[in-house]
């Protein structure tokens, strides 16, 4: 079976003043992968960097990622955009479009790619918003929401096209605590329903979340942080 995401030689990417190494991995459909740095990195945003590389927004310093069997580096721009309709990214700070309401943010990918009629589109968005407890705030602009609601809205936007490769960046600014735990319980319900593969990028080791992830059948990949990019072995490209 073709892996949805595959990095045969692993990936290297810069995080602040350090370098993060993602060991080789392959994610078949149904895989649930948690990427955790081996220690807290003070100078860079590990989760954001990882998420950008895993969605093709940023090329790794070394290594190559293939999504749906196609190496990202060789794809022309328009084909990359087309391929991205099959993936979803939940950004840590919920980068929602500030000039649109929560409802319009979630509806945007559907209105561009969905090919649905307006009522069908509205019905699907409303169902998702209800499930993520966002109906009450659907007509508000993102800046008035709290971090957890913004994160859930970003998740709704990522899930609305039923992605085959879902990447979740960090845990939002709310992170641990009762509010974060509640949000994650609601999100994991949706993550479990994703038929493709899911990768969650943690900013640092978080034992409570890793335990929760394992209880949902997810696996864990520890990514070491190095100070420098290692020399390539002789003869390597």
């Amino acid at each position: 079976m073709t892996a949805i995401a595959h990095a045969a030689d692993g990936l290297w990417l810069p995080v602040g003043a350090a370098v993060l190494h993602v060991p080789p991995f392959a994610c078949p459909p149904g895989d649930r992968l948690l990427l955790v740095p081996d220690r807290r990195e003070e100078t860079g945003d590990v989760a954001a960097g990882l998420a950008r590389v895993l969605t093709g927004l940023q090329a790794p310093t070394r290594g190559q990622l293939a999504l749906f069997g196609q190496p990202l580096a060789s794809l022309p721009y328009l084909e990359t955009l087309q391929m991205r309709t099959r993936l979803g990214l939940v950004q840590g700070r919920g980068a929602l479009l500030s000039n649109r309401t929560v409802h319009d943010n979630v509806a945007l990918p559907l209105s561009v790619h969905g090919g649905l009629s307006h009522p069908d589109e509205a019905a699907r968005v409303t169902a998702l918003l209800a499930d993520l407890e966002l109906l009450a705030v659907q007509d508000l602009r993102p800046h008035v929401l709290d971090d957890a609601a913004r994160f859930r809205a970003c998740a709704a936007r990522a899930l609305v096209l039923q992605p085959q490769w879902l990447v979740v960046e960090g845990m939002g600014d709310f992170e641990a605590g009762a509010q974060g735990s509640h949000t994650w319980q609601r999100l994991l319900h949706h993550v479990d329903a994703v038929q493709g593969a899911v990768a969650v990028c943690l900013p640092r080791p978080l034992a409570a979340f890793e335990h929760l992830w394992a209880s949902h059948g997810g696996r864990r990949l520890v990514c070491p942080i190095a100070h420098h990019l290692p020399e390539l072995p002789p003869g390597a490209a």
Binding site: L78, L87, L89, A95, P109, R157
Partner: protein
């Protein structure tokens, strides 16, 4: 470094900047065509919003400014040139002042003050807040969804505002001409029509089109060029508005010179001399 080197370096920088701007403009129009599959509904909505913000919300200030220009042109014409050229030439004065130069230039300046700054700041903040990155990852090309509608909507707005400016300035000029020298409408508007040549209309269109392309491409280019730091946004806004103003004046100068050469300077200025 000698002053010759400095001038050469500045010239090369200007050429490079204009080249990037042209490439950006080309990319925007290319994405209009090749990105048709990325949804027309949202694109149309963005264009309409841009027209609403740039044109509809600016009708009041533009009309006020146009009225003032029309009135000043006539008052100056009556007090300054009236004795030399006769009251019947007031219509020609308004046409020369308003249609040929002031309407497209002042409209462009007002659009730069209101919309270029707003567009650059909005796109810059979207870049800082990773909203543009979010669009990329949703498979939505930001050039098509954010830049192209702003350029198209901006061009429509600039043209509409120039027409409003010209109409209000002519009407304001006529009202004042009536009050000051009791000029009949037939004489005033007859003079306006006889002074307006096809070349003036083409020049107005060219100034609006090329000036509009220049200022809205500049606004979007500097907005999209912002990196990840919020401190880059005010710098981008400042650069965009200044560069847009220089481009606008440059385009106006080039079109005016082209029209003067094309039509025959003597006949263009003949009405006044």
């Amino acid at each position: 470094m000698s002053w010759v080197d400095r001038i050469g370096q500045a010239f090369l920088s200007l050429c490079r900047y204009l080249w990037f701007l042209l490439a950006f403009l080309y990319l925007s129009f290319k994405m209009l065509w090749v990105g048709r599959r990325f949804g027309q509904r949202d694109f149309a909505r963005q264009v309409l919003m841009q027209v609403y913000f740039t044109a509809w919300q600016a009708v009041g200030p533009i009309a006020t400014l146009a009225l003032a220009v029309g009135v000043f042109a006539i008052v100056e014409g009556v007090t300054g040139l009236g004795a030399l050229s006769g009251a019947e030439n007031l219509g020609q004065i308004v046409t020369v002042v308003v249609l040929r130069e002031v309407a497209p230039l002042l409209t462009g300046v007002l659009v730069i003050v209101r919309s270029v700054t707003a567009i650059t700041a909005e796109l810059g903040l979207m870049r800082v807040n990773r909203e543009i990155e979010a669009m990329e990852v949703m498979g939505i090309p930001p050039i098509r969804q954010l830049v192209a509608p702003r350029i198209v909507g901006g061009l429509i707005s600039l043209f509409g505002l120039s027409v409003v400016f010209s109409a209000v300035a002519l009407l304001g000029g006529f009202v004042i001409a009536q009050l000051l020298v009791n000029l009949p409408a037939k004489v005033f508007f007859g003079a306006v029509l006889s002074a307006t040549r096809p070349a003036d209309v083409w020049a107005l269109l060219a100034k609006t089109l090329f000036g509009g392309l220049g200022i809205f491409a500049t606004a979007c280019f500097h907005g999209m060029d912002v990196g990840s730091s919020p401190s880059e946004v005010p710098v981008a806004v400042s650069r965009a508005s200044l560069n847009a103003l220089i481009l606008l004046v440059g385009v106006h100068g080039l079109v005016t010179v082209a029209v003067l050469i094309w039509v025959d300077a003597a006949s263009m200025l003949g009405g006044l001399l």
